[in-house]
């Protein structure tokens, strides 16, 4: 059995907010001038992660199925004279790097993941196996345009970040536990986000052989 206590949580569900509106809403949350080249996913994930005050000894687990869809689309559209900025921004874990580089904030362990039907399990297993005293699990998606039409980008934008500790401490928000189970099931990243946003208790099989229990205090 693997278990951690949820000490802090930040979620962002902007609905149909445009990238320009997201930038305007969140620009004050980042160092001056930093947001000009930030992606929507970078703004949302970065803001959620910043709420938790990431430190150098934390482990960061970053989960996004599609990553930087808009930057990827822009980079592909920039050929035959590809954009160097969009190339580096389109690389999978850049949403977290956009915040951390703007803050000049090194971190020992950074585990960026992608995934599908069992993504919630894979991200949480990575987090709960980390030896770091505090693990920050963050993730999200940004709505794509032409990649979405091909089924290769998310239809919605969202972000979350949660702080997980080994010790319960004074007032944890809740607890997450993974344990062996003989059943079959799945839980996507978006479904995990909905559980976190609504602080909805959960007790079910999230991958073949694995049960996830989320309890809120």
């Amino acid at each position: 059995m693997l278990e951690r206590h949820i000490q802090a949580l930040h979620t962002d569900n902007p609905g149909d907010e445009t990238p320009a509106a997201a930038r305007e809403r969140l620009k004050g949350r980042f160092p001056a001038g930093a947001t000009r080249r930030m992606t929507t996913l970078g703004l949302l994930v970065g803001n959620a992660l910043a709420e938790l005050g990431p430190g150098p000894d934390d482990a960061i687990v970053y989960a996004s199925r599609y990553g930087e869809s808009r930057a990827l689309e822009g980079f592909l559209d920039s050929f035959p004279t590809p954009s160097p900025t969009l190339f580096q921004t389109s690389i999978h874990p850049s949403a977290v790097q956009q915040l951390m580089i703007a803050r000049q904030a090194p971190v020992r362990e950074f585990l960026p993941l992608s995934g599908g039907a069992h993504f919630a399990f894979h991200a949480l297993r990575a987090a709960l196996l980390s030896p770091a005293p505090r693990v920050l699990v963050c993730g999200g998606e940004e709505r794509g345009t032409w990649l979405l039409e091909r089924g290769l980008a998310s239809a919605r934008t969202f972000a979350f970040a949660a702080s997980l500790s080994l010790e319960a401490g004074a007032g944890p928000l809740g607890r997450v536990r993974l344990s062996r189970d003989g059943g079959d099931g799945e839980l996507s990243l978006e479904a995990l986000f909905q559980l976190l946003e609504g602080r909805i208790p959960y007790n079910g099989v999230v991958a073949p052989g694995w049960r996830m229990e989320v309890v809120w205090h």
Partner: protein, 369 residues
């Protein structure tokens, strides 16, 4: 947190490069051969000729289904055992490309068939079906340290008793997407790479590569110890100029290597500043250890380089001879840089290190079990 995973064993390991399997690649490196050839950076769409090491007979231009699937299936067929992706035998797929060449072709042609293999999750799901894996398949993508992170996660799962064995499977095949991207950054150009050589300007080459490792608690002739990671978060495409990021990563491996005589398999892409920082840091953490880098021949196999080069390191120890650093001329950045191959019988460990965008560093110690 010097050692971020308990030591585990490597039961099986293999790779495919432009030269062939691990044995063929090791032999070619010992002969001092270079797999890099000048290829138009955008394939049939033209552009400057840049050094690429493509699998034999493979074109940079994307096909649907991808022609690299043949190599992936061949590599997979060489993995002993089965049942991968079941709850006790998880798979960790790593890389930094994941069929992204299909997205380039999709945008150029509009043909829907190219969408089938585009993106990490979509590509891995197709691969899972093709290779007969069960559902426990994690996807790790952290640019050029991806394979190291796959090894780390697999090691933790095994060490914690969640799995008897875990498969780390990594693949990166070049496309106009990634060649065009590095060309736009101006570090991929018409010059061939000269890792760890003093020069006026640095340059890299890119290569196709795929590899696997079976991480085990019980069996295996090799031990992975001192697995270490560190992320500078200083700049997207460069490191802190004081080399602190290299030092912070290597300190964990140095602790695990105490009392051993090691050689150092570096990242060594051919960029000047990173090469100098790496050689200097290796000298501080492992005084007297010879430093080698093989990307001047194989090209940079990107997210898979850590696993491809692990397979070659194991082959080197098996054969008793380590290939030297291939590529370029001129003086080396340090006397520790081994330009020629050397017998490794007097050594009892290999430090394998890789670096990535964002100032990401990863390294581990490989030694006999």
């Amino acid at each position: 947190m010097a050692d971020s995973a308990a030591p585990v064993k490597v039961a099986d390991c293999g790779c495919i490069t432009a030269f062939g399997d691990a044995r063929a690649t090791h032999a070619a490196l010992l002969r001092g051969e270079c797999a890099l050839r000048p290829v138009a950076v955008l394939g049939r769409d033209g552009g400057e000729a840049v050094p690429l090491a493509l699998l034999s007979g493979r074109s940079l231009d994307e096909t649907a289904p991808p022609e690299w699937l043949v190599a992936v299936r061949r590599l997979h067929a060489s993995i002993p055992g089965g049942g991968w992706g079941s709850p006790g035998r998880p798979v960790f797929v790593t890389g930094s490309n994941f069929g992204v060449g299909g997205l380039y072709a999709l945008r150029r042609t509009g043909e829907a068939a190219f969408a089938t293999w585009g993106g990490p999750a979509t590509c891995t799901e197709r691969l899972r079906e093709l290779l007969g894996w069960g559902p426990d398949v994690s996807i790790v993508s952290h640019a050029c340290v991806s394979a190291h992170l796959g090894l780390l996660l697999a090691s933790r799962a095994v060490a914690a008793g969640l799995a008897q064995e875990a498969l780390v499977f990594s693949f990166d095949f070049l496309s106009a997407f990634v060649a065009g991207g590095f060309h736009a950054l101006k570090i991929l150009n018409s010059s061939f790479p000269s890792p760890y050589r003093v020069g006026d300007s640095g340059a890299i080459g890119l290569g196709d590569g795929a590899a696997f490792a079976v991480v085990s608690r019980g069996r295996g002739s090799w031990t992975l110890a001192g697995q270490s990671v560190y992320n500078e978060m200083h700049q997207f495409t460069s490191n802190r100029s004081d080399g602190a990021g290299f030092d912070r990563c290597l300190e964990g491996v140095a602790a695990a290597s105490r009392g051993r005589r090691v050689w150092f398999k570096g990242h060594g892409t051919g960029t000047l500043e990173a090469g100098q920082l790496e050689v200097s840091a290796a000298g501080r953490s492992f005084p007297g250890a010879p430093v080698v880098g093989w990307k001047g021949s194989l090209g940079h196999t990107l997210g898979s380089c850590g696993l491809v080069e692990l397979a070659i390191a194991i082959e080197s120890v098996r054969a008793g001879r380590t290939p030297g650093t291939i590529g370029g001329a001129g003086p080396a950045m340090s006397e520790s840089v081994a330009r020629e191959s050397f017998g490794n019988g007097a050594f009892d460990g290999v430090v394998c290190a890789s670096n990535a965008f964002g100032g990401a560093h990863a390294a581990f110690l490989l030694c006999h079990a």
